[in-house]
Amino acid sequence: MTDIGTEDERFAAFLRSAVRQLDVPETPRDAMWAAIAARRQHRTPVQGADWSTYVTPAVARDASAVADTVHIITSADADTRPPMQVDRHGLTVQSGGASARPVVRRSIPLRWAMPIAAAILAVGVGIGNMAQFGRRTVAKTPSNIALAGKGTPMLPTQMLTEQHLNQARVELVKFVATSQQGATQAEIQASNQRMANWARQMMDVTRTLMSAPMDKRQHDLLADLENVLLQMSQLSNDMPDDNEFVRQTLEHDQLIQRLQSAAPGPQRAI
C-alpha cells in the first residue's frame, strides 16, 4: 500500500491536473463572513453553556453528574501544564511556564457535559431504533453495568463505549454472515438498507464517544469503526462493490476481532 509505484504517481499527477480544470466557484468571502458574524453575535461567547438547550433537563442533570464523576476520576490524569488563572470571562487561562502558548479551557464538567449527555441520548435512540427492527434490546444487551457491579469499576463513558462497541460487533458479524451465506438479491438489498440506516445512527454516537478522553488504542478502534460505518452508511443497491469494500475494510483492519477484544460482551459479564 505504501509503495504506490511510478504509474500510480503519474496517475495522481494526471488526476491533480484534471481536477484543477474543474471550476471551483469564487469564494463568497464577504457573504459568508456576514453570515458567520451574524450567527456569532447571537451566541454567548466561548462558555458554551447553551448545552442545556440540546438536552432535556433530566438528562442534563444526569449528564452533569456523570461529567462530575468523570472529572473527579480523571483529575489525576497528567495535566502538567502551569497553573490556571481566571480571566475576565470567567475562563481558566494557562499562564507562565516554558510554553508561550496560552490555552483557554472551559471548566471540565461543563466541557464534557454536552458530549456525554449527547452520548446517553444517542445510545438511547440507537437502542430504540434497533428495537424497532426487532433486534436486541437493552434487556438483552450484555450487562456492562452488572460487570461494573462485580468489582470492576468502569467509568460511565467506558460503559457507554463498551456497549457501543459490542453493539457494533454484533451487527457487523451479521453483515458479514449475510453477505457470505449466499443471500438472495432481495435479502442483500434489504440488509443494505437496514445497515445503512443503522450505520448513520451509530456514526453520531461513535463521533461523540471519540471526543471523550480515552487511551489511544480505543480511540483508534473507534476511528476505524467510524471509517467502516461511513462506508456502510453509503451502501446502496446501485453499487454492489461497496459491500465488498466494507468487507475488505473489516478484514484489513481486523475490526471484528478488535471489537471482540475491546468489548467481549456476554462472556466477560459471566
Partner: protein, 191 residues
Amino acid sequence: MNAAVRPADELGLVNRVLAGDPAAEREFYDAHVDGIYRLAYRVTGDAELARDFTQEAFVRAFDRLDQWRGEAAVSTWLRRVAMSVVLNGLERTKTRAARETPLEDIDGEATTAETDTDAESLELKERLSAAIDALPVSQRSVVMMHDIEGFTHQEIAESLGITVSSSKVRLFRARAQLRLALSDFAEEWTP
C-alpha cells in the same frame, strides 16, 4: 497550504482571536477561508452546500479555538473541523449523490467546441466529474485532500480522525475506481 499566515504569526493571530479581537477574527477567516471553501466544494460538489458548511466550520472553529492544542498547524486543525462539518452535514442532507457540477453550464458550449482537443477535454471533465461523484464520500474526501490539495496521510488522518492506514486504504480504493472509470484516457498516465 496556507500562504497568508506564517507559522510564527499563527500563534499571535490565534491569541488575538482568543482575546476577542474582531480584526483578528476577520484576519483568521481571510487567511483560511479559500482553502476551506475549496475543500468543501470539492467534497460536496455543490456551491450552496460548500458555503453552508464553510460558514458552519468557521462558527464552530471560533467557538472551539481554545481547544487547539498546537500539536498540528492551526490550518490542519481547522480542516479537521471543516471535514467533520462536511461529513456530518452530508449525512444529514443526504444529497451527496446529487452533485451539480459546472458541467451543466459547459454542456451548452459543447456544440460549439471546434477542435478535437476541446471535445476531448470536455469529455475528460465529464467523465472525471462523474467518476468523482460515484466515489463514496469517505474515499472522495481522502483523494481530494491527498491528490488535489496535497495533504499528507498524517495530516488527513489528523483532519478526519482516522488512522494513517485507513487513509491509505481509502486513497488506494479511490484511485482504483477512478483509474477504472477513466481508463479511456489511460495514455495520459501510462508510458
